[in-house]
Amino acid sequence: MSTSKNLRHSLCEKYGVFCDKCQYDEASIWEKLKLKFHLIMCGECRKYSQKNTQLSEVIKNAKLSNLTPEEQESFKMLLQKQMQNSSSKNS
């Protein structure tokens, strides 16, 4: 019983990855087809696929704009400098 559960779990993990690739439009045709067939049979993965699509939409709607790594680095430098300054003042 538990082995069949494990097998199912690892299968769903594999198809979950295909589903994720679809969200970024990076799945191959073959992967898309396999996923479609699997979704017909597997309710668990259908649920995940639905949630996954929703997640993509929500994140798209939020219009997040992040700092570039360089900008983050400059913040880090600034903080570090300030911390060194204050620690040298204290000592």
Binding site: Y48, N52, V58, N61, L64, F75
Partner: protein, 186 residues
Amino acid sequence: MPPSKENQINPEKWVDRYSDFLFNYTITRVNNRDIAKDLISETFLAGLKSMKNFKGEATERTWLVSILKRKIIDYYRKINSNKGKAEVKINYNNEGDDGDWLEEQVADHDDVTAEDTLMNDELKSTIFNCLSSLPEQQAKVFKMKTIDNYDTEVICNDLNISPSNLWVIIHRARKKMADCMEDKWL
């Protein structure tokens, strides 16, 4: 009273943990990347200075946001005083329209957008809350792939992982994110 364990201050982690959240918070309020960055640096510096006053009653992030809010208010005060005064101009366009002008011209057409902004703020805050509950690497890969839209290849090179490894990380992250967002938002 020393800060409680879960609410401790750790400035070395500030940039990694909060800079994206703070940036998103600020950019919706000032609409300018450079100004937003300046305000965040000021917030971090002010945070460092007043670290001793942190009592651990709120989380580190809430505390930083409260500093940032003041910086944003200060910023608006400053640009207002630069102008000398806040001007309100009312144009009497059509002479025949006496009497109706007040309601017509003062109507708040921004109502819908204001609500949208509020919803969007909550949504962003939920996304970042969920992101912060992920393990560090999952959060990093997920952000790079989903928010910054980096190519798979670039992320793999950057973090020195294989593509299949990347997809497994993404899968775990998305699963947790979906569950977390489902609880709070979807």
